[in-house]
Symmetry: C2
Subunit: 342 residues, 2 copies
């Protein structure tokens, strides 16, 4: 008994005095095997520590039991944190766990279309692409190679063209805006990002429609997500600077870090939150929970999104019909100090 080499199905077969076929059948409950024989094989397999090789098994149907999560803004991690940091960690962690629940492992992939990308980056059974860009090359490649995938949020340039988990950007935006209005805001502005994704676009559309309904003049500013909290000063200047006409008394800030930066900058400029400005953020629970004042924030429940995305991905990988609703779970609004007057 040499411990160095991993035991194969042949070793089990030899030890149990049967053929590899029978071992395979017994362990997978596939063919017709006498109960007695099956038990003996299971026993022997356990004793010599046999584990079927997922690679060899995968060669049959080209399925490895592997899913991949492509978080598009991941690359930015080199130099700075992506927007909504905790959103993506919660998502990645939950996706990994949800995958395991269903018998899959989860790869975290940056960009499988990169020239030097390893083969393994395209070896997953199905892909989850979070917040694809417009005309995202990752979606194009997956589609061309007939690799199943689901995107969380649609490719803004190709809506409905692929299988996607619809986000509720529209209704989430309304939830936040309505809350600001109820809290007493009369002129609500929108602070959005510059990335070309569905979240930014649809939130803006929803905001415009909301203004239309309320008869309010829209007031929108866009800052790069990558700037994070650093936009504080610039944003204050933009909304409250000398050149500004009517100043907002309510602000919906799509990304959490923008909200955090603005929150801090407002304090420095003597703009009181919530007295002078009601502030709500669209994502990024963590940094807004502990600031002073804490900031009212949409909780998108990335765990729920991940779980559902994994569910869809598993169906795609296994070729079973999709019975899952293709929507993310509903977001909730965590009301905090920044929108509580009095």
């Amino acid at each position: 008994m040499q411990a160095s080499e991993r035991p194969t199905i042949k070793d089990v077969a030899k030890a149990a005095g049967v053929s590899p076929t029978t071992v395979s059948h017994a362990l997978n409950g596939k063919g017709v095997v006498r109960q007695e024989t099956a038990d003996r094989i299971a026993l022997v397999a356990g004793k010599i520590g046999y584990r079927p090789s997922p690679i060899a098994r995968g060669l049959q149907n080209s399925r490895l039991g592997l899913l991949a999560l492509v978080i598009r803004p991941l690359r930015s991690l080199d130099t700075f944190l992506p927007e909504g940091v905790d959103y993506f960690l919660r998502m990645a962690g939950a996706a990994s766990l949800a995958a395991m629940e269903r018998g899959y492992s989860m790869m975290l992939v940056d960009d499988p279309t990169r020239p030097g990308a390893p083969l393994s980056a395209t070896a997953a059974d199905a892909y989850i692409v979070s917040e694809p860009f417009a005309n995202d090359p990752v979606l194009t490649m997956l589609s061309e190679r007939h690799i199943p995938f689901v995107s969380v949020g649609s490719d803004p340039a190709r809506r409905g063209q692929f299988i996607e988990l619809a986000t509720r950007d529209w209704e989430e935006t309304e939830l936040a805006l309505d809350h600001l209005a109820e809290a007493g805001a009369e002129r609500v502005a929108l602070l959005t990002g510059t990335d070309q994704n569905a979240w930014n676009r649809e939130s803006e559309e929803a905001y415009l429609a909301w203004c239309e309904r309320r008869g309010q003049t829209p007031d929108i500013a866009a800052f790069p997500e990558a700037e994070g909290e650093r936009i504080g000063e610039a944003a204050i200047e933009r909304f409250f600077g000398a050149a500004t006409g009517t100043r907002p008394d309510g602000l919906f800030c799509l990304t959490g870090r923008h909200a955090a930066g603005l929150n801090a900058a407002a304090h420095r400029h003597g703009i009181r939150v919530p007295e002078d400005l009601l502030l709500a953020a669209g994502s990024g629970a963590l940094q807004n929970r502990i600031s002073q004042p804490s900031v009212t924030t949409l909780d998108l429940h990335p765990e729920g999104i991940a779980a559902r995305a994994v569910e869809v991905a598993v169906h795609l990988a296994e070729g079973t019909p999709l019975t899952v609703p293709l929507e993310v779970p509903r977001a909730t609004l965590d009301v905090r100090e920044s929108t509580m007057r009095g």
Copy 2:
């Protein structure tokens, strides 16, 4: 030409009028193939969109081009965020990128020893286990199955028994403590976690030694990492409550979220930071950067740690000798308002 089926090496061989062997040799530069033939094969392969199957290739040398990152506290994501949230996201993201640079993909795995764990969870070529527990079963399993792995921080119960990336807990603790002393603290306390990992243990040892050298009485409290910011009140009671003897005027808080909670609670109790209490945190840059006051924090540079861990893992996977220093890069101290008096 049927577009539905993925082209195999045989299709290329047929199209180029050669044998599969020659195709393999030509594309991998292995055997002796006439330049002309190799060019033609490459051309044909490109034309029909041939991509070698990583699974079939993996079957040869039982290597898939896959690494796995095991983040032990990942499971906690279901209900709450793990300590040092951004630490682990930065680590996971950077690890994924570093792996890709070297031709590998990165799996994110919770616990491959779980009974129902998918086979694929143990299919990686090498593992990185971040902050293993004492007698961590994951390390035990990997070791038993002769799967190469490197741990970031040692298993506290089995130090030096496996290949590990030494953390600099000791010198990092001294860095923070010295800074607190220089900033004016005379009685420095330590707030640690309850997890049985190297980080907690070694920091405590370093703190005790430091106190010994300075002739100061040690003052240590431990709270569960899982409690996060919620420990604020309890920690204040512990250090500044009525029953307390000498109160600390400096505090080194190992986890960032503990520091954040304590920072907020101190404010509520009229304990001024930094005037009454100099506060430093050992991890968790994000939440401490934007609080008021902002908190001086060790930046452990998870990207650097991940990059080095990946480097080691790749060496292990490929069986090449380890030339890399088995140490994490040096941490830096981001000095912020919580330790700046005047």
